[in-house]
Amino acid sequence: MLTRARRLFRHFLRHRSTRVTTEGTRFLFFTLAVAVAAINTGNNLFYLLLAMMLSIILMSGIMAEYCLRRLEFHRHLPPLVYAGEPMTATVVVANRKSRLPSFSLRLWDVTGEQEIDRGLTVWQLMPGASHILSYPLIATRRGRLCFDGVRVGTSFPFGLFYKKAYYPLDGSVVVAPVVRPVEKTLLQRLSLLGQDFSLPRKGHGSDLYNLRQYHAGDDSRTIHWLSTARTSKLMVREMEAEDQRRVTLILSLLAPLSYDPQFEEAVSLTASMARDLGARGYQVRLIAGETRSHFGQGEAHLLRLMETLALCERSTPGRRESVSSFESASYDSEGGATILLVPWGEPRTLFRGVRPDGIVSESMLQGRHDAV
């Protein structure tokens, strides 16, 4: 029973709170003074003034409550944002009351126990009307950014009390890691470390692979008329096989707590590389811990990769990571490149049997982190 009462009390405290403002304190002081004067003198006109002041206090409470009642909130958030990049969040507040408008509303975002003031104010909200409030939001770190609700407050009508009400309004947005342009030198260094990303082969792509003399059976649509005219021989185009332009990014999630900056840098670099390679037309696959994606291209695929990277969590080395999964996944039978991103530990030990085309090691990540 006591627990229930306490829970109820907490619930009430969370949903309604009232604070006396500076002006309110002065007003209460004057009310007390008038009350003393009324009791002392028994003058009914003093009692009348006292009643007026008490009625103003009561009206404050009643009107503030009416202002905060029957409001409806909706939150519009983008599906994914990048850490450090501004996005626009929108809160729609509607007055569901049939007669009374709401005045002087101020809104706070509530996340856990924290109230975040975004400077959102609604001066007047007529009955049945709604108001859209947009505000820039910059997520500082990747992960899922959750909002529990909205706290709305008002000091209307007389500014004597500040009353706040809580409206639960769940909302979340996936925050992808910080994405920065990937330096060309880094990709070159990676390609120097291992073999090139891929060996170009002829196939059915869009990039030119080779020009050669026409053989019987060649598709007449592939004749390259410019070279034919120049060499006086019938020449045909051979195109590069596009399915060979693909990369597997393998991110190790193993890192002790002290290596958290390097881990975050590895995640950020993985995201940056995924976007960069995707923009270059590569099919990108991501393996992060137990999570692995398929090869893919395009905005939707990139969003999936970013979501994976946004939500992946560092594993402490004590908990053994399944090395076999890397082994089985490391090879691309079609001949695509594999890049290992290892924030902690020796790549060869961690990924035994994996022959990566490029390795981003702990030291490289440390260097990049320091540079940032």
Binding site: E23, R26, F30, V34, A37, I39, N40, T41, G42, N43, N44, L45, F46, Y47, L48, L49, L50, A51, M52, L54, S55, I56, L58, M59, I62, M63, E72, H74, H76, T90, V92, A94, N95, R96, K97, S98, L100, P101, F103, S104, G119, T121, W123, Q124, M126, P127, G128, A129, S130, I132, S155, F156, P157, F158, G159, L160
Partner: protein, 733 residues
Amino acid sequence: MPFNQALRLSSVLLAAAAFIGLGLGANLPEWLLLLTGISLILTLLRTLDIDRFQRVFDRMRLSAMVWNILTVIAFAGFWADLLWISAELLPAGVHFLLILMVIKLFNLDQRRDYLHLYAISLMAILGSAASTTDLWYLPVFLAYLLMGVWTLLLYQLTKESGTGHSPASMTENAAVALQPGRREQITPELFWLANGLAVGALCLTVLIFFTIPRVSAGFGQKGSGEGLRTSGFSETVDLGMIGPIKRDPGIVMRVELSDRTGLQLDRFYLRGMAYDRYDGKSWTTRLAHRRALVESPAGTFSVRHISSRSPRPVGQLIRQTILLEALDTAVLFAAPHPESISGQFLAIQSDPTGAIYLPFPTSSRIEYTVHSSVTPVAPADLQSQPAVYTEVFKQHFLQIPESSERLGVLAREITQSKSSAYEKAQAVEAYLTKNYRYSLDIPSSVQTNPLEEFLFERKTGYCEHYATAMVMLLRAAGVPARLVTGFLATEWNEYGNYYLVRQRDAHAWVEIHLPNSGWVTMDPTPAVSEPSGDSQWFALSRVMDTLRLRWNRFFVQYNAADQLAVVRGLKEGTAVVRDRAWNSLSLLLAPAGDFAGKTLSYIVGGNVRLAAGFLSFVVLGVGLVIWLMQRKPWSRWRRSGPVIREHIVIGQIYRGVLKQIERHGIAKPRNATPQEFLLLVQQQWAAAAEFVATITELYCRGRFGKMILTQQEIDLAYHSLKQLTQLDPPAHT
């Protein structure tokens, strides 16, 4: 009007309301009234942003240092006022308060200056409440309340508007900081809301005022000042003393009567004192020794008629509620023959003549209730009957001044044909009424024998002369009589149902003693027709006086006893209402109860079919009630909630889509859902499908998902509809 300007205006008006209250209530020096009044008018003109005044004000602007010095000088002046000029705290404080108000009015720049002005206004209205109880305080209070609500509201709104800006000056910087847009303007909604708030605050004020417990410690209780000077109610009254006050319209009391049936509507006597001895020039009472009345129950004092020599016949009781202004006499007025008196009194006294007194004159307005009995003349007194009086009684009520032989002759002449005392009295009364002229224009020169001058020479006079003459003539004829002073109420206020009694209603009349009836009131003064003024003005003045009475009754005089009475009344009222409701319900349900009783007796009697029918009926009835409670079919006709503007807009757009598509021969079947209709469009007009799909989705989200659509989504829907209208018609048409 922008918020800042409205705040300045309401603040000045608030101060003005408080100043008017103080000006009307407290005796302020003219120079101070003039100074504050001019300051308020100037500040008001400045607030209205009239350029010319603005420029003048800018030139007159003084530095903060000068204002501070002025404040210090005013404070020194307060002490001088307190110690030497007024020599009282309240007037000196009020003077200082007004000086401070003037200084603040010219110095209204920062937000804290406004707060100071509000505090000064509050003190001023408190000072006003301390110095008056008059009706005019009510409009001042109402104006103060209205302005107070507006001021607090605007103060809050300007504070909210200025959030994020530096706490700058209200006049210049804030005006620059705030862009004058609709947001900072007083909208019609805000205007009505503010006035509604004021009305709500007033209702709550009245409610709280009547319910707040009256706990009066009474350390600083103070009356309303000196009592109203009146005459004719001391132990000695010179003949002609009442005359000068017969032209004074000052209000002495108001008398409410619970029942006026059986009374003369135009003459209601309010008895004060009775006099037994006349020395030729003045009347004196020799029966002035007072005795305290017994209080039972609390607050009610029973009057014992010591001087009644025989048991009086018990007549009808008149209940009077009297609101008596502060007078310079301790006499309490009431209709003749008071039986009991109740009110907030510590003690009540009475003398052998039946006059009622307070222990000492009150310095404030008092209210009390008296029950008086109407004593008709006993039939036995109409017949001739020798009366035997004691010597003491004769000394008191048959006393005649020595040199009055002509009086005796006249008395015999008038009464010689009459046998009973009552007939003699009637004859004297008729004689005086018929043969003498009423006039207040009596020379004020010293008269050696005013009574004989009245009776035999001048033959004009007013109530005192008539009454004295009648008493003397009756005494000369052997009928015990005495002179009574009091008020004759003639001004009935039909709006408030009470008599308004003024100073000019002071009156003197006669009481004669009859063996069986006791003291009987008689009045030889002829009724004087008052010069009636403009009837509309009189009506208006009566309405005003009614308001004044209500104000005094319900606000100024309201006390803990009234609260208790209200609670008791409510309790009794509730019990009465409950009993009546129960009786009505019983009457209403009696036939149904009888029917149920008979049916039950039938069932008990063994009629199985009827029993089964009855039980089925009960079960069905209960089932129907449960069904109704759960399904609430009436909610279909009730609006489910406020309609959001965006929902209306998207509905209109969707209806536009349906109309547009119908033009091309694709009509929405009545039973098809929006999604089913979309499939139909996709099949029959593929080009339109994309736009219809967009609008359908938004429509479903807004209409059924209760989502509030953003302006961009509404724009998208509009855009899609526009594109739909520009499409080529489908191939099959």
